[in-house]
């Protein structure tokens, strides 16, 4: 039995909620240790900053991974246009909620309340997703992939276009802000007002140990995102355990068989695609637009591939796995290396380029190369992510939890699994 199997068996014994909570606590503990190690007397503020940022990242990627899991893991729709649907949701929310009397140089919006904007953004992302899905779902998986990634670039280039930066519609001036982006009602302000309002006594306690107000608001925002993750998880768990969800899993296993059982698989696929896109749109504004500002460069295809990496690490087909994958990817692979790299004291001998670093090896001095490597760890972490992705797809294609991929049948068909028993919570 390999080490990975041993870890997996241990993970299997935990209930899903405990697994996620334990995982998050573990990542928080790592951040706390890092803050204690490098923060000196200011460690509480540093720890709050690290934990807040990592929680926001995990929350954002978890929502995206859950949405992608519904499309790909359950229904087999290989959508790599995630960034495009995020942009649709984020821009719709931004245009709906941007102030009608903007600051100089900024773009006006409709000035609606944030919750209207969020609903509008989700709705628009679902509609655009449905429109994109109508013709595209006939395609083979890899063609669908290319169509969706091209579509996401078309969306990004369109909102980036200066012609849409500001235009008039029914006598009102609106716009996307073009390449400079658009400012709107910030979801972060909600967290800020919570900290200053209801949470004032708790906040005072935190501030007395030196945690700054912005860090506290950020931490609160991260927890709010986790609440959205929890709500999405609950909805998706209900959805995928319903008869609707069983049809989705059947489509993934064999679409022709599902069709011959009288299910209109196209309709199911389009609905799934729309639900997933709506959640991606929500993540677009809550995650990328946390500070109340978005610009087209935040929606490059790269982010789609990060979401894929998160989902594959966690194991596609499992909602719990999506969240764990998002935590592993964004906490351990994306955030942690960069923070470590920033906080390792390099001295003054770190060379500015790799040639000097390698040249020093000639005089048997490995320090410059080490210093250069540590100094550029924020670049190297992407190499690590790529290598992890290749490793997983070669050796562990089901990811951390993908082996718990729920079967398409409502009764357990796998005798060996039935013998172990106790997994079903029904």
């Amino acid at each position: 039995m390999s080490a990975a199997d041993a870890v997996r068996d241990r993970l299997d014994e935990l209930p899903d909620i405990g697994l996620v909570a334990g995982f998050l606590a573990g990542i928080w503990a790592i951040m706390l240790v890092l803050a204690l190690a490098v923060g000196g007397t200011a460690w509480p503020n540093l720890a709050a900053g690290f934990i807040g940022s990592v929680t926001v990242l995990i929350g954002g990627y978890a929502i995206l991974a859950l949405a992608l899991n519904l499309q790909w893991g359950y229904t087999g729709l290989f959508n790599i246009g995630v960034a495009g649907f995020m942009a649709v949701g984020a821009y719709t929310t931004a245009i709906l909620t941007a102030p009608t009397d903007p600051a100089a140089g900024a773009v006006a919006g409709l000035g609606l309340p944030l919750w209207v904007g969020l609903l509008g953004g989700m709705l628009m992302a679902a509609v655009i997703g449905g429109l994109a899905a109508l013709p595209a779902l006939r395609l083979k998986a890899d063609y669908l992939a290319i169509v969706t990634v091209a579509f996401s670039e078309v969306i990004r280039l369109t909102v980036n276009w200066s012609g849409l930066a500001e235009f008039s519609l029914f006598g009102r001036t609106l716009g996307t802000g073009g390449a400079t982006g658009i400012s709107f009602e910030s979801a972060n302000d909600v967290a800020g007002s919570l900290v200053n309002g209801v949470g004032a006594p708790v906040a005072a306690a935190f501030q007395s140990v030196g945690v700054s107000a912005p860090n506290l608001a950020n931490l609160t925002y991260g927890l709010m995102l986790m609440a959205v993750v929890g709500a999405s998880y609950w909805v998706f768990a209900r959805l995928t355990n319903s008869p609707f969800g069983r049809v989705l899993k059947a489509i993934r296993e064999d679409e022709t068989v599902t069709q011959s059982l009288g299910k209109d698989t196209r309709l199911f696929k389009i609905k799934t695609f729309m639900i997933g896109c709506a959640l991606m749109g929500l993540a677009g504004v809550l995650f990328r637009g946390q500070a109340g500002y978005i610009s087209p460069s935040q929606f490059r295809p790269t982010i789609t591939f990060y979401v894929f990496a998160a989902l594959i690490i966690g194991g596609s087909g499992s909602n719990t796995g999506s969240i764990l994958g998002a935590a592993t990817f964004s906490g351990l692979l994306f955030y942690l290396p960069a923070r470590i790299g920033e906080n390792v004291p390099l001295g003054t001998r770190a060379p500015s380029n790799i040639v000097e670093a390698v040249a020093a090896l000639g005089s048997l001095d490995p320090f410059p190369l080490v210093a250069y490597t540590v100094g550029n760890v924020s670049t190297l972490r992407f190499v690590l992510i790529g290598v992890v992705l290749i490793y997983i797809i070669q050796n562990q294609p089901e990811g951390l939890l993908g082996h718990r991929n729920e079967p398409a049948a409502s009764v357990d068909l796998d005798r060996s699994r039935a013998d172990i028993g106790g997994e079903s919570d029904e």
Partner: protein
Amino acid sequence: MGLVANARGSRAAVVDRPGAVAVAAVLGYLFVDLVVKLSGTSVFFLGVQVLGGSLELGSLLSMVIDGLLVGLAVGLAGIGLSMTYSILDFANFAHGDTVTAGAFLGWVVAYIAAGLGTGAPIAELFMLNSGRQLSTVSTFVPVLLGLVVAGVGSVGVTLLVDRLTYRPMRDADNISLLIASIGVALAMRYLIAFVFGTQTSGVASGGLRITLLGTVSMTDNEVTLLVVSLLLMLAVHLLLQRTKLGKAMRAMADNEDLARVTGIPTERVIRLTWILGGGLAGVGGYLLVLESGTISFNFGWILLLLIFAAVIVGGIGSIYGAMAGGVLIGLVDSLALIWLPSGLTRAAAFLVLIVVLLLRPSGIFGGVTTA
């Protein structure tokens, strides 16, 4: 004869597919509009300008040349993507970064070769930031040397990647391979960034400007791109027509198991596919940098979708399709400027990709046939 069959096939497609008719109508409109624009007149209908405007013949020619140059390099890079798509049956998302890797290898060698003896420090030359601009005329030998190294170097890179990543998973399904290639793309792109940094370096600019017609001109670097890519395309054509390799590749694209049973050394054909495709990708990237003058760690990644567009428009698996598709997409990318504002031309090229995939997934030149 193939042409006749093709024409008949496309007529049948028009009857079956109203979408194709719509595309033809749009193309027809654009063509008429182009002619009216060139004649310098406008046509008004109910007070709205429906056709025309003004367009100098000279600027049209410049746009065609620009599109042709970019298209040839994209087509060259696309040959490899098309071949791996048909023979290994997966969309290789790391192909764009192979283009970057080849370009960097070639340009570092060209830059060092051109800079040796000028007293510039080697670190500056290696990092491509001594500020020197190479051109075919002024530094012919280094540019040629770089071209060769770009080809050979990217062959090495592709073979290494194949050995480490794809070979252990030859039997995997095409989505697993696609995901592995996404991992390869990430790792390769940021390894390049780790070594060379994330800045954009200017490394080349035309040394000589050749006037073709009035205001239309080409630089020596652009002529190099044109000549080298046409020569390489001819060479690929001869290689696949005159050797058994082409036939073996066609057989593999059609049915791998059957090919192996017939005695075709499939693993060797796969290796040759990577060699040919990787080498051409590296050369394509090198030539693109020669033409555009700048190089950065992610230019191939940004180019990837355009290469995909070329391959899909031409028809996956068809090498001539990749070449023609490259030119077509290059022309769309540059000629769209006649009708669209400059921010939307790239979007137009991607829209062509989407429309072709939806209406005619086998590509304009159709069919899975290597060669």
